[in-house]
Amino acid sequence: MNNTPVKHAAAPSVAALELHDLHKRFGRVRAVNGIDLTVEPGEIVAFLGPNGAGKTTTIDMMLGLSTPTAGDVTVFGFKPVDAVARGLVAAVMQTGGLLKDLTVGETVKLTSTLFVDTRPVDEVLQRAGILDIADRRVGKCSGGQQQRLRFAMALLSDPALLVLDEPTTGMDVEGRRDFWSAIREDTQRGRTVMFATHYLEEADAYADRIVLIRQGEVVADGTASEIKELSSGRTVRATLPGADPARLLTLPGVDGVEIRGDTILIRASESDSVARYLLTETNARDLEITARNLEEAFIALTSSDAPEAATKPAQHAESIRSAR
């Protein structure tokens, strides 16, 4: 490897990725509405958000595929286009097309001619798990194999930042696991990874940090457990025949009540007082209190009727970042 990583004793001086007050408007649609984000070298960041939240638009700007309406993006201190030209950033995009008339191996070889320094073609094919189908025409490859091919191409320049837009789409369970173990290996050697996904388990399992966006703004930013805490509140579940939902809703700190036959599910920020009420004032039994999982946190934070998390995004993001 030509590029021997330099170890710094102190914190690195340049961020892997820096988005500053980033905006992108398409006509009257504000796809990205003021995103500030700093990713340090070596971090694995999941970019999470519902469809249309602005994930792909933001990623396009990180890669120089589109120009911000306002604000700026730097990748290791470079403009995105220059970072791409140096092979510092590579990406696996959903939209990147492949030529059907080339073989898998030829596609990687052709791409490798465009960089100054590259890893060997066979090595990246091996890493992406497609060395055995190097002679297969791209048009005959499955969606998962094509996705691995895009991954192999992204590995060619040994990028310092790897950006992945829904990287495991079309891969089976085993393929997904292999993919992530390959990614993990590299991050241990200092590669920064930013991935957009709608698989929450994936974000939970593989990211050091999760950035949640909604309507083009960051609504939460922290570790998976911090995000779970953010959408504070727990679910109290109990068996209570003939429960009166209207009465339960008047309890302090209750956000929602759901009745399923004899079972009641109460979402509440003050779960203790709800439990106390149920156990002392009613005939409720089999009482359980559970914390929300990441998926519930995700829905709570990104749904259109999301509470203060949506109205005070900056404060949330800041408080969590400073807690780290």
């Binding site: 070596g42 890669l63 140096r86 995009m93 939209t95 492949l98 052709l110 465009l114 320094d117 050091d208």
Partner: protein
């Protein structure tokens, strides 16, 4: 994770010269073109087949002061160069439709270097088409002085740049996986109007005057000039200059729009 030492990657990396334009890439592109059976048939085989069908059989006749078979050979070499350069340049259209040009934006290849690669690839294929036609002609008894072989060949090849530009222009205009299916018939009509299939003298005055303004006319007239210089129509020179400039300008404008939008 915060316990891990931070490994700072080496940021001193080189940028490829010429925006990523390189010979290996061009060679792979040409191989790709040649592997396409349809491209092979239409650019390299069909013009030669036409020569055997319509040219070789009229080797006893003359057109003006030139041997008819030689005249037809030069016309068909011009036609082959037209189809080949256009097919090469029109790959832009297919690659945009398949999203490949977007994928290439994730590499150091600058858009202008991509366009240059397409032009060089297209012109190389055009040169191959002319060379094959001339080799077959020489092998089947066409006689020309060495200077005329070279002049005719160079003229047919270089003037076909007009069609490389037209291919790029249409390639950026119509992103389609089947661009050549649209362009093939257009080229056949242009070749007919340009007098590459039959001399324009077989037609009436009005039709001839219109045909003289079409882009293939200039290319053919210049390519044939070494055969019978006394008949040369000087209108051919502004013809290729104006068409060449128009298509290049159109391609450049669409290219810029495309680069901004991707």
């Amino acid at each position: 994770m915060s316990a891990q030492p931070v490994v700072m990657p080496d940021l001193n990396r080189r940028v490829p010269p010429l925006g990523g334009f390189n010979v290996t890439f061009v060679r792979l592109e040409i191989r790709r073109l040649l592997r396409n059976r349809r491209t092979m048939i239409f650019t390299l085989i069909m013009p030669v087949a036409f020569y055997f069908l319509f040219g070789y059989s009229s080797r006893g006749d003359t057109v003006g002061s030139a041997n008819a078979a030689t005249y037809i050979m030069v016309n068909l070499a011009t036609y082959g160069a037209m189809v080949a350069t256009m097919a090469g340049a029109a790959m832009v259209s297919v690659e945009r439709a398949q999203g490949w040009s977007r994928q290439l934006r994730l590499t150091p290849l600058r858009p202008a270097a991509y366009m240059a690669t397409k032009i060089v690839t297209a012109m190389t294929l055009g040169g191959m088409s002319v060379a094959i036609q001339f080799i077959v002609g020489a092998a089947t008894g066409r006689h020309l002085g060495l200077d005329k072989w070279i002049l005719c060949g160079l003229a047919a090849w270089l003037c076909a740049f007009v069609f490389a530009a037209m291919g790029l222009f249409l390639g950026y205009l119509l992103p389609s996986e089947n661009a050549m299916q649209v362009m093939g018939p257009i080229l056949a009509v242009l070749a007919l109007l340009g007098g590459l299939f039959v001399p324009l003298s077989v037609w009436g005055h009005t039709f001839r005057e219109i045909a003289r303004l079409t882009p293939a006319y200039g290319v053919g007239e210049i390519a044939r000039a070494p055969l019978h210089a006394e008949h040369f129509d000087w209108a051919a020179v502004p013809n290729i200059l104006i068409w060449g400039a128009l298509f290049s300008l159109g391609a450049a404008l669409l290219f810029r729009r495309d680069t901004k939008r991707v």
